[in-house]
């Protein structure tokens, strides 16, 4: 990051975007070889017992498994470039359709969980860091550690066992069958469709279904936020410019807000990109716990069916999503922090 006149925001964004292509290539290569080099025959693993030998051979030829590995690799790369993520072996669907039908559920779950985590985790982290070693700090840190230490499915279990009934909250699925039947599909994302539909009964039903899963997943990320924000506050509170601001007699409140908090939150934004990966992993478990019909749940189903095609397709999409999110985070970061642009 040298100070050069050529450094400008559009240029930085262009450079960063071009960097995405080799990153995706490396990850795709990894996904392909890890799944292909594994011992055993994917087709018979998925369909063995359902079809006879001749039919299995036909499927193998149709999927190109009888061709040299390098040709299959090339096919894989070029089809991903065409946004074709392959077909599932067990039910012969386009992976893209699987994603379209289930991705919306995962997306709404993760985004709402993320917002919950941000709204709870960041303020708590700020307080803990500012009042280090005080009672609130101890309690907040304990909460942060516990919320990270409690596995999603255990929190889910506790909520289902103790909280769901008294509060009258559903513990399975994203809506009652009636709601799903009656709300027209516009975007394939129920949370948006139900608002487009506008019927308050359906909206309430969908939101009620969302509360427990989103809270559970949000709690996991919340602990990470508390920790992250707290450490960053501790570091900025010790920084030279905070001391300099105090030496200029700036009111403590202003020093804390303008100099410590704001600066502490910049690295947090960078790390949020990494939390997205954690969020995806957590989503798989949350969806399993609450029977949420999302992509993670679907992935687990396909894994139990030993469906290599589906696993490869879904993992590829997750990989591309992670890289794109990190690109997005870097661009947002450049908009906030003037130093990055240079």
């Amino acid at each position: 990051m040298t100070r050069s006149a050529s450094g400008s925001l559009p240029r930085y964004i262009l450079q960063r975007t071009l960097l995405v292509i080799p990153m995706i290539w490396v990850i795709l290569t990894l996904v392909f070889f890890v799944l292909r080099v594994a011992p055993g025959d994917p087709v018979s693993a998925a369909l063995g017992g359902k079809l006879d030998d001749e039919a299995l051979d036909q499927r193998r030829a149709a999927l190109g498994f009888d061709r040299p590995l390098i040709e299959q690799y090339w096919d894989y790369l070029s089809s991903v470039a065409r946004l074709d993520f392959g077909t599932t072996f067990s039910d012969n669907q386009s992976v893209l359709h699987v994603v379209r039908d289930n991705g919306g559920a995962t997306l709404s779950l993760t985004i709402v969980a993320f917002i919950i985590a941000l709204m709870v985790g960041v303020p708590l982290g700020l307080v803990a860091g500012r009042y280090r070693d005080s009672l609130p700090d101890v309690l907040i840190r304990l909460f942060g550690i516990l919320s990270y230490a409690a596995p999603i499915f255990f929190v889910g279990f506790l909520l289902q066992a103790y909280l769901a009934k008294p509060l009258g909250l559903p513990t399975s699925g994203m809506a009652t069958p009636q709601t799903i039947f009656n709300v027209e599909e516009h975007t394939h994302i129920l949370l948006i469709d139900v608002f487009l539909n506008g019927n308050s009964i359906y909206i309430e039903d969908v939101l009620k279904h969302l509360i427990l899963p989103a809270t559970t997943l949000g709690l996991l990320i919340c602990g990470v936020f508390i920790r992250l924000v707290r450490v960053n506050i501790l570091q900025t509170m010790q920084s030279d410019y905070v001391e300099a601001a105090e030496a200029r007699g700036l009111a403590r409140r202003k020093v804390t807000w303008r100099h410590a908090f704001r600066n502490a939150l910049v690295p947090v934004i960078t790390v949020i990109g990494l939390q997205f990966a954690l969020l995806l992993g957590g989503a798989v478990l949350t969806e399993s716990t609450f029977n949420w019909p999302g992509l993670g749940q679907k992935l687990v189903d396909y894994i139990n069916d030993r469906d290599y095609g589906a696993v490869q397709g879904i993992i590829t999409i997750f990989a591309v999503a992670v890289v794109l999110i990190s690109l997005l985070v870097d661009i947002v970061n450049a908009l906030i922090d003037p130093r990055v642009r240079y």
Partner: protein
């Protein structure tokens, strides 16, 4: 840098702005208390510049920070500091904090990290001026900030730039402008040129030299560079191991050093007509457990028997200022045989410690 003895204009206006009496600042460590400043007194008149020199680790930065109240956790200070008729060390922390900025200013050693990287220069000025002058209009703030920048030689076009767009020397000038725009009566400048290269250093020294004329600010200039003191200061205080061993007008002290440490410090300064390098053998003492008697005695070439046992007494220097050394006196307090030269082994032992 050569030590030139130029007579700086000395404005004597009676009452001192700040007056420290027997100030002590001790740090807590895992080994015990470090007596970084251990009984220091000085006065500073309005518009006067006092240079505080000494080796690194002698407590000069601690003294500056102690006056500002910028001390780490676990540090303690006592003594008296009278600022414009008020004692500030015993004040409530809140009242003390309120003096910062518009009464007590500070210029730091490392300008690169002292500005908030996410804030424009203009933001820094606006928040500082607003803090101390809440009623100031935007235009008034801007005018004041630009005037301060102009005096530091920074063009108004850079007003809305970010800190990283400036060089080290410019950032130090920004820091000075930022401290002086609040018009404090007293400023501590803690090694303001140490992190900068020589050409920039000269520029900053020139700026500090002009302070009196432009802002009428009293300045405590902390430095290890004797040359800077000669150029920019009215008076000098020489600090060793937590004590001010000698102080007085720069010309007096430098032309006629009374304390052996001052003399050695001046001799170890490189000048154009230096033929060999002089240095003071040994290293500064451990301030957790400083040596008995005069703290300089293990390294002092003129040490006498009394220096190792009895604390020296502070005396008025001939021609103004103060000094504490048994060589100067008071001779009647030296016990019999106390003037015998101290044995050389002492030095080796101290060296090892």
């Amino acid at each position: 840098m050569s030590v030139e003895f130029v007579e700086p204009p000395y404005v004597d206006s009676g009452e001192p702005v700040i007056s420290a009496r027997d100030v002590r600042v001790w740090y807590g460590t895992t080994r015990g208390a470090i007596r970084a400043v251990d009984g220091v007194s000085f006065d500073l008149a309005p518009g006067e510049t006092l240079g505080l020199v000494g080796e690194s680790g002698c407590g000069k930065s601690t003294l500056g920070r102690g006056l500002m109240g910028l001390l780490p956790q676990g540090a303690k200070r006592d003594g008296e500091v009278w600022f414009k008729g008020r004692e500030i060390l015993g004040m409530k922390a809140k009242d003390n904090y309120r003096l910062r900025g518009h009464e007590l200013g500070m210029i730091f050693q490392e300008p690169l990290t002292r500005l908030n990287p996410l804030m424009r220069i203009s933001d820094h000025f606006e928040e500082s001026i607003k803090q101390h002058d809440p009623g100031a209009t935007k235009d008034a703030i801007r005018a004041r900030a630009l005037e301060a920048l102009r005096l530091m030689g920074i063009p108004p076009t850079r007003y809305r730039s970010y800190p990283h767009e400036f060089s080290g020397g410019m950032r130090q000038r920004l820091m000075i402008a930022l401290a002086l725009v609040l018009r404090p009566s007293f400023v501590v400048a803690d090694e303001p040129t140490t992190a900068l290269d020589v050409l920039v250093e000269a520029q900053i020294v020139q700026i500090l030299n002009d302070l009196r004329r432009n802002f009428h600010t009293s300045l405590l200039l902390i430095t290890h560079n004797v040359g800077i003191v000669a150029e920019a200061c009215d008076r000098v205080a020489v600090m060793y191991a937590g004590r001010i061993v000698e102080q007085g007008r720069v010309t007096d002290v430098f032309e006629n050093p009374q304390h052996p440490y001052t003399r050695e410090l001046l001799r170890s300064t490189i000048s154009l007509n230096t033929t060999g390098l002089n240095f003071i053998p040994g290293s500064p003492p451990d301030l957790v457990d400083p040596p008995d008697g005069c703290r300089f005695h293990p390294r002092c070439p003129d040490a006498m028997a009394v220096c190792a046992t009895k604390n020296p007494v502070t005396l008025d220097r001939v021609g103004g200022g103060r000094v504490e050394c048994w060589l100067v006196g008071p001779h009647e307090q030296i016990p019999p045989g106390g003037t015998q030269p101290l044995k050389q082994e002492e030095l080796a032992v101290a060296d090892e410690a």
